[in-house]
């Protein structure tokens, strides 16, 4: 199962109520408001726990999301662009979070830099439709992925601190 700290993080993110996808017009606006409320709460929790690690925003329709996430390793901050689309079948299927800057640099990714999720993710997501939202996908999917993959990629020299600052320019 999911480790204790991820469980604790997950349980402190508010649950969503509206089962609506991007084709559901007004209901989707309600869902989007819930998404933002949950995300704001999650970022506040992270800040309070001194573990602020991502920012996200969406286009007006709420179907295209983009932002940054970062990971601190040996006191150096490694920052990555992140993006995903909300699929038509959301929230039955989770968003596929991608770090396009790392595409092709690790085998733990699908095409386009979509992160490879653990076997725990899909069952847990399926059992929690429609209560889980984007904030939960970040906590359960991207957070643990970064914690495992980034130190490994740094150690292998695939990503370096210099490279990151160059990309940022």
């Amino acid at each position: 199962m999911v480790d204790e700290s991820t469980k604790k993080t997950l349980s402190s993110i508010p649950l969503l109520q509206t089962k609506a996808g991007p084709r559901d017009k007004e209901l989707w606006v309600n869902r989007l408001k819930e998404e933002y409320q949950a995300l704001i709460k999650y970022v506040q929790n992270n800040k309070a726990a001194d573990n602020d690690w991502f920012r996200l925003e969406s286009d007006k329709t709420g179907t295209r999301w983009f932002g940054k996430c970062w990971y601190v390793h040996n006191l150096l901050k490694y920052e990555f662009d992140l993006e995903f689309d909300i699929p038509v079948t959301y929230p039955t299927t989770a968003p596929e979070i991608a770090l396009p800057g790392l595409d092709g640099k690790t085998a733990k990714m699908y095409r386009g830099g979509k992160i490879c999720l653990t076997d725990h993710f899909k069952p847990l997501w399926a059992r929690n439709v429609p209560k889980f939202g984007i904030a939960h996908a970040m906590a359960l999917g991207l957070g643990p992925w970064l914690a495992v993959e980034i130190p490994d990629l740094i150690e292998k020299g695939v990503i370096t601190y210099q490279e990151k600052t160059e990309e940022a320019k």
Partner: protein
């Protein structure tokens, strides 16, 4: 020292040479108007038309009027498209948004010189050269996004040679999200389709025929997996997402097109679900009843329509009849479309053939019942306010 004109001429010559080498040349054969059964070495259809003479297929040339959409042109989809092309299908509509990569070369169909091209364009060029009689329509986009999904639905419902719905959709995608998108589209359009898949460990696969309302749709149950008899503890996923074998993919593509041909041309018995375990050469079959509580509301609507249609679909009955004598001793192959079946404790009535199981159960998860975050409260703030608040953090 060459002049600019000389260099430009040289560039034109080299470009022409390159185009010729890359195969941008005229098709090697002209189009053929009518399929002929004449057995001569110049007739590409003689062996197919022989199916008629042998009494296997009544009307093979009907294939020229039929349209099939292949969604996903990877290890399974590309081979599927090639088989249908060689069979002389009337029209093929291809969907994919990926590029050919050298990492794909452990699979069939694509060649190293195509690396970097879009899969649909590379496939269309090869397929058109193999059989110029096939109308090929290539779509290079991700069907799961809102705008593209609508384009996808429109193409499925108007893409046939006569401007109507395609005769069959074949799902050859490699992920849950795309399968659910196809399922959503086909439930909304009452479009019959085949789902196919190969497991991420490359040693099992399946095909499944889905007639909305009549058989279980892809959302009626959690994803099904064929037991691979691998101890989960010995299955290492460290460092990789997925493995693949050309063998398993080719076998699944073969099963898929075989059943598509049977469905399209009306011969033999169409399999509802056929699994394949490579390690044990085990092939479970079954047919699955739709789930009255399916999470896809359009599936439930289609089920209502199916119940109202007199008499029950002959497809389902046929399989029941055929499955019994063939697999009398086996615990699989039992038709599960049976209105008199005793109710299971599971509301979905999902009873699977031996060797097939759900990837996970959707029983309510207890970990979120202890949620300390509660549920989001109704907010007086507008969406714009919330967006601004998030941005200002």
């Amino acid at each position: 020292m060459s002049t600019v004109e000389e260099l430009q001429k040289k560039v034109r010559e080299l470009e022409a040479k390159l185009a010729a080498v890359q195969g941008n040349v005229a098709p090697v054969r002209q189009k053929i108007d009518v399929m002929s059964a004449e057995v001569v070495d110049s007739n590409p259809y003689s062996r197919l038309m022989a199916l008629k003479r042998m009494g296997i297929v009544d009307n093979y040339e009907k294939i020229r009027e039929l349209s099939v959409a292949v969604v996903g042109v990877g290890g399974v989809g590309s081979v599927t498209a090639e088989m249908l092309t060689r069979c002389g299908i009337g029209k093929l509509i291809l969907f994919d948004y990926d590029k050919v990569e050298l990492a794909n070369m452990n699979r069939l169909f694509f060649q190293p010189h195509q690396a970097g091209l879009s899969k649909v364009d590379a496939a269309a060029a090869t397929l058109q050269a193999i059989n110029p009689d096939v109308t090929i329509d290539a779509h290079n986009y991700n069907i799961t996004t809102v705008d593209n999904f609508q384009k996808f639905c429109d193409t499925i419902s108007t893409g046939s040679l006569t401007g109507g719905p395609v005769n069959l959709v074949l799902s050859c995608v490699d992920n849950f999200e795309a399968r659910m998108a196809i399922n959503t589209a086909c439930n909304e359009l009452s479009q019959n389709w085949f789902e196919s898949g190969v497991s991420e460990n490359a040693v099992s696969g399946h095909i499944q025929f889905i007639a909305p309302g009549e058989t279980a749709c892809f959302a009626c149950a959690p994803p099904l997996v064929v037991a691979s008899n691998i101890d989960e503890k010995t299955l290492k996923r460290d460092g990789v997402c997925a493995a693949s074998l050309p063998t398993t993919m080719g076998i699944v593509a073969g099963f898929l097109v075989q059943n598509a041909l049977k469905y399209l041309l009306g011969f033999g018995t169409v399999t509802y679900y056929l699994g394949y375990s490579a390690l044990t050469d085990f092939f479970p079959t079954m047919c699955l009843k739709p789930n009255p509580q399916c999470s896809d509301s359009q599936c439930v609507v289609r089920q209502k329509e199916a119940r109202a249609r007199p008499p029950p679909v002959e497809l389902a009955a046929e399989v029941c009849e055929d499955a019994r004598p063939l697999h009398a001793d086996n615990s699989w192959g039992i038709c599960l479309i049976d209105e008199n079946a005793p109710e299971e404790e599971d509301s979905s009535n999902l009873r699977l053939a031996e060797g097939v199981q759900v990837a996970y159960s959707v029983a309510l998860d207890s970990s979120t019942e202890s949620s300390t975050g509660g549920a989001v409260a109704a907010s007086e703030l507008s969406l714009e306010d919330l967006m601004a608040q998030m941005k200002a953090m």
